[in-house]
């Protein structure tokens, strides 16, 4: 049974939506002029009130985003916190947020940020240059121990490489200087073109010094479980933390003093529901107003019942990994044969949501460095057979590893995807040994931790707009997953990573993509389109490829 408003109510919904749309057009996005007097920087239309209940797929681990790296921990963080840099709505491109503008020096080593004025944290303390640098220093000075493991400060380690003390001290970060109330300068020890885009990650949100000093973790304790991180997360965002009942729900309240567009709803609740089918049920029962990660099998049914399906622009890639540590997979002809055997369109129509496009390389098309000129491998079973014969591998038997019991945004139905590809490989004479494993840790351990795997399915969802976030992760260095040692590619990527600006990186990354598709360490398959679903009466949700989705513009009509 679904909630079907009567015609009268439907009419009201449309009228209200139209009013909001017009009001919304009169006002720009979150980063308003800031100096509009009083609290709400938005216009003067009233808030609509009500509660927005949203279901994610799991409980957060912590509410201090610096010590988190999973999407579900970031979801509430996007409402409570903001960083210096945001994204243009619906894209992965950097946009001003708490920093109104920035300028990087020629050598790429120092960036000056101009900051918003008049912004306060939820506890009343001021956001200013001092607060901003305090945050950078806090990250840099994370005490050795649990806080410095990649399970916690993953993004800092990935991007800035090191801390003030501990095992990793070779840091890209050098210092943060307070130039004034509304200006800071950050110095790096080496150029890092991805620096500014990376600041849009929730991990680098600005947090309240006062709150952390009062409730933060004692030395030696797990910082992700401090009283601050579980009971008093304090940011500048459109919502204020209210309560977190573990495994049950998180409640946030509207921040009436928000410096940007004040939220339209009064309260937000985030609940964890692990099964996609159960999330769909909850939406249809009216228990929730919206949810993330719609199962592909549920999309048609929900649309039929009048719910809204919103697609996130694809920012991920699913690939068929090949382990060159297993002969004869180290023979380029065998890999090319596999590529020609695969019919990506059939894979997509059988196992992926509508709207999914085939992938031509290891980065999705939204990322800088995407190249139009990569080698393509058409579906051509005859050519595949010829190549196999040429390589002397007509009776090839391959171990094909795939995970069970999991669904990832880039791989919604691994079993189905495996099954289709297996059929295509068998058509060209390859014998396939299907080898399933439980996703975590078994499967990951197998395909990334050793040599006992043949071809496998895996993928990646991008965190921010930087080719290195894809290629660097896959091919930055020799690994068990790919089993090859191609100095040329490693060096090219290392070189590109060190260039100071995105413009300078572009040609190198395009070249890297082309070289990689020539070398063919694996076969990119597709970039599936993740979807969200909402009740009919929800408006204003803007999907972002990097999940930068604050909910201050969301409204729920009664």
């Amino acid at each position: 049974m679904t909630l079907r408003p009567t015609r009268l109510r439907k009419g009201m919904v449309v009228a209200a939506a139209a009013a909001l749309l017009m009001a919304g057009c009169a006002d720009s996005e979150r980063e308003g002029s800031g100096g509009d007097g009083g609290g709400g920087g938005g216009g003067d239309e009233p808030t609509t009130g009500g509660t927005f209940v949203f279901a994610g797929s799991a409980d957060p681990v912590t509410l201090d985003p610096f010590f988190a790296s999973d999407g579900e921990s970031f979801r509430p963080a996007r409402q409570i916190f903001e960083g210096l840099v945001g994204t243009k709505p619906g894209t992965a491109d950097p946009a001003p947020l708490l920093a109104t503008s920035w300028e990087t020096s020629e050598d790429g080593l120092s960036t000056t940020f101009m900051l918003e004025t008049g912004v306060k944290f939820h506890d009343g303390s001021d956001f200013n240059g001092e607060a901003a640098c305090w945050n950078f220093d806090r990250w840099y000075n994370t005490p050795p121990g649990i806080g410095q493991t990649e399970d916690q400060s993953y993004y800092w380690i990935s991007l800035f490489k090191g801390f003030a003390e501990g095992e990793l001290t070779d840091s890209v970060f050098e210092s943060c200087t307070v130039d004034g109330e509304d200006q800071i300068t950050v110095k790096l020890t080496q150029p890092f073109a991805g620096f500014v885009p990376a600041l849009s990650l929730p991990s680098f949100s600005m947090q309240s010094q006062a709150a952390i000093e009062e409730y933060g973790a004692a030395e030696g304790d797990d910082p992700s479980q401090s009283a601050y991180a579980t009971e008093h997360p304090t940011g500048t965002g459109p919502f204020v933390f209210d309560s977190w009942e573990r495994e049950n729900q998180i409640t946030l309240q509207r921040n009436d003093d928000y410096w940007g567009d004040v939220a339209l709803v009064d309260t937000v609740q985030i609940v964890p529901i692990a099964e996609p089918r159960a999330r769909a049920d909850a939406l249809e029962n009216g228990e929730i107003d919206g949810f993330d990660l719609v199962g592909p099998a549920d999309i048609a049914g929900l649309e039929e019942d009048g719910f809204q399906i919103l697609e996130r622009p694809a920012f991920n890639v699913l690939y068929l990994g090949i382990n060159q540590g297993q002969k004869p997979l180290d023979d380029i002809r065998v890999r090319q044969a596999i590529a020609h055997a695969i019919d990506k369109d059939e894979v997509i129509s059988n196992s992926m949501p509508e709207g999914t496009v085939p992938a031509t390389q290891f980065v999705p098309d939204l990322v800088n460095g995407y190249s139009e000129d990569v080698t393509s491998y058409e579906h051509d079973p005859d050519k595949a057979r010829d190549l196999l014969a040429e390589a002397g591998a007509e009776d090839l038997t391959l171990m094909f590893n795939y995970p069970t019991d999991v669904t990832r945004p880039y791989m919604p139905s691994p079993g189905d995807t495996f099954n289709v590809i297996r059929g295509q490989l068998e058509e060209v004479g390859i014998t396939v040994e299907g080898t399933p494993d439980v996703w975590s840790p078994d499967y990951l351990d197998r395909v990334q931790g050793g040599n006992d795997h043949g071809i496998h399915l895996l993928g990646w969802t991008g965190d921010y707009n930087d080719t290195d976030n894809f290629l660097g992760v896959f091919f930055g260095r020799p690994s068990n997953e790919w089993g090859f040692d191609n100095k040329q590619i490693f060096d090219l990527l290392t070189e590109a990573r060190g260039l100071p600006t995105v413009e300078e990186q572009l040609p190198l990354y395009q070249d890297a993509n082309e070289q990689i598709m020539e070398f063919l360490p694996g076969i990119p398959i597709a970039s599936p389109v993740p979807s969200l679903a909402f009740a009919e009466n929800v408006q204003g949700y803007v999907a972002s490829p990097v999940q930068d989705e604050p909910w201050n513009l969301v409204s729920v009509e009664e």
Binding site: M1, T51, V53, D59, V61, T62, S69, G145, I146, Q148, T149, E150, D151, Y154, E167, D222, S224, Q225, E245, R246, E247, N248, Q249, Q269, V271, I273, A274, E275, A278, D281, A282, N285, E287, I288, V438, S440, P441, D442, L444, D445, Q448, G449, L458, W460, V473, S479, N480
Partner: protein
């Protein structure tokens, strides 16, 4: 009686110690490790090594065990590698959920099972008896998760009468002082919350309680039939004593014994059945959490939770044995 209890408690200690050693070694023998599970797709060898070093998983097993028991003695059961929470704290927070579920399942099983078994046992071979026996066989044969899926489909999708997952709706105003959601609603006078919690309990409790229901029906039926056949009952009836009186005074009392034992036995089954049921319904309790922890190689949680469960199971068994002795004066626990 007291000596019996003390002796049983004393015997529990070596069993639990043995179990803890077994668990400790076993969980580390499982392929894969917590570090890999914590890092997911982002795992690199250096990241894994770092985690193992910080959390002490790279030390020799024996040393890890000593460190672990050392902390145990001061009440520190460690923290989950998945969500960082102290194991004891999570257990205490989630256990009421499992208790509520188990109690609800047991209530369904006993409230339905004893009268049904009683009625069937009094007239063996009657139509009610046949119906009951077939039904109970079906109940035992049905896989819990299949039943759970069926229940979800029928009552949540088609009929839309009941919720399909979790313990409480987000929209309902509810505070949880004790974490027994039904009780909490009553304590805080949030009647809606109590009612909502009960609704959420129905499907999982039915799924979980079906097998104990079937077993209790069979046992009650069998022991009632046995008592009915006893000489003294037949004598009482032939003497003209009204069957009703014979019921209450003689049959019921004697028939209760095996039922009580079975209830004790069921606790173990219920606890293990709770794992699957809680997972299927995403019902927040120790079973679902434990299951996730095993698959994610969350050593501290697995070690702690299974120990707690074994302890509880032993205590319940002890309680059952003691009550057995209390109900039937002939059975003096020796």
């Amino acid at each position: 009686m007291l000596r019996f209890i003390v002796r049983r408690l004393a015997l529990m200690v070596p069993v639990l110690v043995g179990l803890s050693i077994l668990l400790f070694v076993w969980i580390r023998k499982l392929p894969g490790d917590p570090a890999r599970a914590m890092l997911g797709e982002r795992a690199t060898d250096s990241a894994i090594a770092q985690i193992n070093q910080v959390y002490g998983f790279d030390k020799p097993v024996l040393q890890q065990y000593f460190i672990y028991t050392g902390r145990l003695l001061s009440g520190d059961f460690g923290d989950s590698t998945r969500d960082g929470r102290p194991v004891l704290e999570s257990f205490i927070e989630q256990f009421p959920g499992t208790i509520e579920l188990t109690l609800a399942a047991l209530i369904i099983a006993v409230v339905l099972g004893v009268p049904l078994g009683f009625a069937a046992g009094r007239r063996i071979g009657g139509w009610l008896d046949n119906f009951v026996v077939t039904g109970s066989l079906l109940g035992v044969a049905t896989p819990v998760f299949f039943l759970a899926i069926l229940l979800k489909l029928v009552f949540a999708d088609w009929l839309d009468w009941l919720p399909t997952s979790r313990r409480q709706d987000a929209r309902v105003e509810a505070t949880h002082p004790t974490n027994f959601y039904v009780l909490d609603g009553l304590l805080t006078r949030e009647w809606d919350a109590s009612w909502d919690a009960i609704l959420h309990l129905v499907l999982p409790a039915v799924a979980l309680g079906t097998i104990p229901l079937a077993i209790i029906v069979r046992i009650t039926r069998a022991s009632v039939a046995e008592v009915m056949g006893e000489d003294y009952v037949r004598t009482a009836i032939s003497k003209g004593l009204a069957p009703k009186l014979v019921n209450r005074r003689h049959i019921l009392r004697n028939a209760l014994l095996p039922v009580v034992t079975t209830i004790g036995l069921q606790t173990g089954l219920l606890l293990s059945g709770a794992v699957l049921t809680e997972s299927v319904f995403e019902f927040q309790g120790i079973g679902g959490y434990l299951f996730l922890s095993i698959s994610q190689r969350d050593y501290p949680v697995v070690q702690g939770y299974i120990l707690f469960i074994a302890l509880i199971y032993s205590m319940v068994n002890l309680a059952v044995d003691v009550s057995y002795g209390l109900i039937d004066p002939r059975v003096r626990v020796s």
